[in-house]
């Protein structure tokens, strides 16, 4: 179990998603830009032109570098592009949750939580 100190400063939800997913979640009020000069955003809009390395970099930034992120939301089809990185992520904080997007419904087969369940039952 993580100590209280490990999560007391973690308060933001980060998003790695397509434009509609990010827009919707920002409309819900999760978007945050830190004070200048850093002005770090807690979201990344991914389109077809976005390099996989940029997604990996954002994932690392939200999961490893930043200590104020509690949950990282990532569209499942984008998580597929960095699948190894997502599946091998085991830290207690932040939580990484895969969410559906407009064009890609949620697939339980790819969900890392349900993958662990299958492993537990020896499948």
């Amino acid at each position: 179990m993580a100590t209280t100190a490990a999560f007391k400063d973690r308060q933001f939800i980060a998003v790695i998603g397509d434009e509609d997913s990010v827009t919707g979640l920002l409309l819900a009020g999760v978007g945050h830009v830190t004070s200048p000069p850093d002005s770090q955003k807690n979201f990344l809009v991914v389109d077809q032109k976005t390099e996989t390395s940029a997604i990996e970099h954002a994932f690392d930034r939200f999961t490893t570098e930043r200590k104020d992120i509690a949950i990282v939301l990532i569209n499942q089809h984008i998580a597929d592009r960095i699948r190894h990185r997502v599946d091998t992520y085991t830290a207690a904080f932040p939580s990484v949750l895969e969410i559906p997007s407009k064009d890609h419904p949620y697939d339980p087969e790819k969900d890392s939580v349900l993958k662990r369940v299958r492993r537990l039952f020896g499948e």
Binding site: G24, G29, G31, A70, F93
Partner: protein, 211 residues
């Protein structure tokens, strides 16, 4: 000689009793695990349904938009401040605090002076005590020297007269963020903690059976 045989059989009986105890514990853990898994899948369905409604409303807003504007990243406010933040509460359950932390997401209404505690509280875990929650709101965190303005409703980024479908989309996405999302995060943590306990119990049983 007789006493040695008696003590050996006593040890064996003790071991069998211990294995039986651990088996019962394992059954209990699996029961808890399957119950949580069921809740996880239910919340997942809720999240998918709510997000799907949000995407549909957003598409309707884009379709009905005059001048062909798209409600997207071109209009994001680069100085945005989070209106909904996460509180992670340490679990203090009787099971030794190993059943994972509880996650809630709470909101600060736009232009408010004080934070409103309108977060969804997962009553499924009554053992969680009233936590020492961070008392600061987004407004309080703002540094007056930097001239940061109070948080505004993100829908204002897109203008004053926004179409109704955009408001509906905002309502659906907000519902997803305060409802199923923190519950899924909490449940995933609880499942993870139970997996560790199941693994440990299985190992202990194997060790006793080998011995």
């Amino acid at each position: 000689m007789l006493s040695t045989t008696e003590s050996t059989s006593n040890v064996r009986l003790e071991e069998e009793g211990e294995v039986g105890q651990l088996m019962l514990e394992l059954d209990h853990l699996f029961e808890q695990y399957l119950e949580l898994l069921d809740q996880y899948q239910t919340e997942r369905i809720k999240l998918s349904t709510t997000l799907s409604s949000g995407f549909l409303s957003l598409a309707q807003a884009n379709f009905s938009s005059t001048l062909g504007r798209r409600y997207g990243q071109d209009y994001y406010d680069e100085r945005m401040q989070a209106l909904r933040t996460v509180y992670v509460l340490p679990s203090n359950s009787k099971l030794g605090g190993e059943d994972g932390e509880k996650v809630t997401i709470e909101g600060v209404p736009p232009h408010s002076e004080k934070p409103a505690r309108n977060g969804i509280d997962d009553t499924a875990e009554p053992s969680v005590a009233e936590p020492s929650k961070p008392a600061c709101s987004e407004d309080e965190k703002e540094d007056p020297h930097l001239g940061r303005r109070p948080s505004v409703d993100p829908i204002r980024w897109f203008g004053i007269l926004v179409p109704q479908p955009l408001r509906t989309a905002q309502a659906h996405f907000t519902e997803a963020v305060v409802g199923p999302l923190p519950r899924i995060a909490s449940l995933a943590k609880k499942l993870r903690a139970l997996e560790i306990r199941i693994g440990r119990t299985r190992k202990a049983i194997k060790k006793l059976e080998k011995g």
